[in-house]
Symmetry: C2
Subunit: 332 residues, 2 copies
């Protein structure tokens, strides 16, 4: 077994993330203490929030320290347990970050059932992205049948679930994504009614054509020009779920939004969200999502990078829109 | 009686409103038809929303046509009635606009009781501004005891009521106003805990000093730099009531807000409002406001311009922050 390898934050990015912001080190595999377990990570989740943790700007939580292991969720297998609640071979969801092995308190590990769905699903459609989509759409967006729902980053881990859930509510669902391939996936495989390719330019015209009755719910994962354009086409009493502003993460200067008057004129409710706020209710979302997945009602795609050493490149691709579906790193 | 005089919209303003945008004409006093009443207007209300109606940009309602009488609420006296529901001498609230006399359907006129409070109060603290403050604060802001509430345009018709209502809820209340005289009024007569003078510069520092625990509710009447600065100091799960964006009305180019990331990070709920949305519940707000006024618990100040010919100057002063309290024009 081992050695362990870890990806550390080497420096904070100025603007876009680059490979130099990371450093790979080899360290001994740690020993679990009483009540702890040693986990061999199999899948690492890459998510847009990681960009925020690399900066020291105020955010949800403290930033990653320079020299520390990059944060992240993984799914792995227990290889040694010193807690009666866990056995060798158990598959668990962890917060062990970008490394091959890690030790954690058994209480902090969630056992997952990998017999019906692949274990990696617990990092995506049955994990934080899926739960984010579920609470954001139903608790803040509150779509009603016949309404038009717009989803940015529509082919992504969150957006793809949001759109499929909104279709199930009887809404017209319009995605926004970058490139023809993603848009074809969004309308073809995911079943959205339309998808606007923001790389084609003329976003405003294309959006208006796709949303002839205006927009009632915007599930915002991107921000910047996209949000500013969407705001101008929102209807009376519409809702904006602010789930992510990935367009701003790399920017040296924050984007200047010029469409806020629409919030006043149209009495828009715009609300920020982070999935942790519903922690006590995760089970509710998970049960519903799992049922839909089992019934084949939720399509889901993973984008896989092989090997820990390629995790930095995977994150960089994700942040620049180069990925497709839920971004994972296969570690074992 | 008469002749009638009217202020017409002569042209749409490019940027700031100027006297040339208005024209005064003399016309005959109209005759009421069956079911109508002739009203002699005594008080005309001047309000920030009028700036919007002078433009042809999309807003709540259609703009005033060039050549038409400027819109506005008045309080006046019935001088001739052809409806059994109204008698000569009745005081009524009207939407007759900027003119000395006008005819309206009796059903569109609301009789007001001028025996306990001055009739002009129905244009302010017991009118749309007071009702706006009441619903905006209680239905959207939802302040809790111990929270910090910030109110921009704090000495104005809406802001002054918002702050006093929030004090009644046990909140720390901080106003934002322009100039020492207004700030002294806000802390002295209105009883706010602090007032920040935005004309002094260093708004961010001054606001931070006045809100050491951050901001839980922002009742926004101004927008622009003020809102952008406030957003950066808002707490987790805070609320922004977007009631007015007066700083934007004159701008040739909309303001570029750079603090939207705070909405995501702090899970802020930002919501636009217009008092008409609660029309069915006006009575509820009015009863409570009237009780507070009668009990001497709500301080209120009027800023009076004499004569219809001075209404344009009054509106221009209001839009540039030159007024003090509720802005009225005395017509008779």
């Amino acid at each position: 077994m081992g050695p362990n390898r870890q990806v550390l934050l080497a420096s904070r990015p100025q603007g876009a993330v680059s490979p130099e912001n990371f450093r790979i080190v080899e360290v001994p595999v740690p020993e679990p203490g009483e009540g702890e377990a040693l986990v061999r990570n199999e899948w690492l989740s890459l998510d847009p929030y990681m960009r925020g943790r690399m900066s020291d700007a105020k955010s949800y939580v403290a930033p990653v320290e320079v020299g520390a292991v990059m944060v992240g969720q993984t799914v792995g297998e227990v290889v040694r347990s010193r807690d009666p609640g866990l056995r060798e071979g158990d598959k668990v969801l962890t917060s062990l970050g970008w490394q091959l092995y890690g030790v954690a308190k058994a209480k902090s590990l969630t056992r997952v059932d990998a017999s019906r769905v692949p274990a990696s699903y617990y990092l995506g459609i049955l994990g934080m992205p899926g739960i984010t989509a579920w609470f954001g759409l139903f608790e803040i967006g509150k779509p009603k049948a016949g309404e038009t729902v717009v989803v940015s980053a529509a082919s992504g881990a969150v957006g793809s679930v949001v759109g499929q859930l909104a279709k199930g509510e009887g809404c017209r669902v319009v995605g926004i994504a970058g490139g023809k391939r993603k848009c074809d996936y969004v309308t073809g495989e995911l079943g959205f009614d339309a998808c606007v390719d923001y790389r084609e330019g003329k976003l405003s015209d294309a959006l208006r054509a796709a949303c002839p009755k205006g927009i009632d719910v915007d599930f915002e994962n991107v921000g910047g020009t996209i949000l500013d354009t969407v705001l101008r086409q929102m209807n009376l009493f519409s809702r904006v779920v602010v789930c992510g502003l990935i367009a701003e993460y790399d920017a040296q200067k924050p984007y200047g939004y010029t469409a806020l008057r629409s919030i006043l004129v149209n009495r828009i409710r715009m609300q920020g969200m982070i999935v942790f706020d519903w922690q006590a209710r995760y089970g509710e979302a998970l049960a519903d999502l799992a049922a839909r997945v089992s019934a084949g009602k939720l399509r889901y795609r993973e984008s896989i990078v092989e090997g820990l050493e390629n995790a930095p490149a995977g994150l960089i691709a994700l942040l620049s829109g180069g990925n497709f579906g839920k971004q994972l790193v296969k570690l074992a």
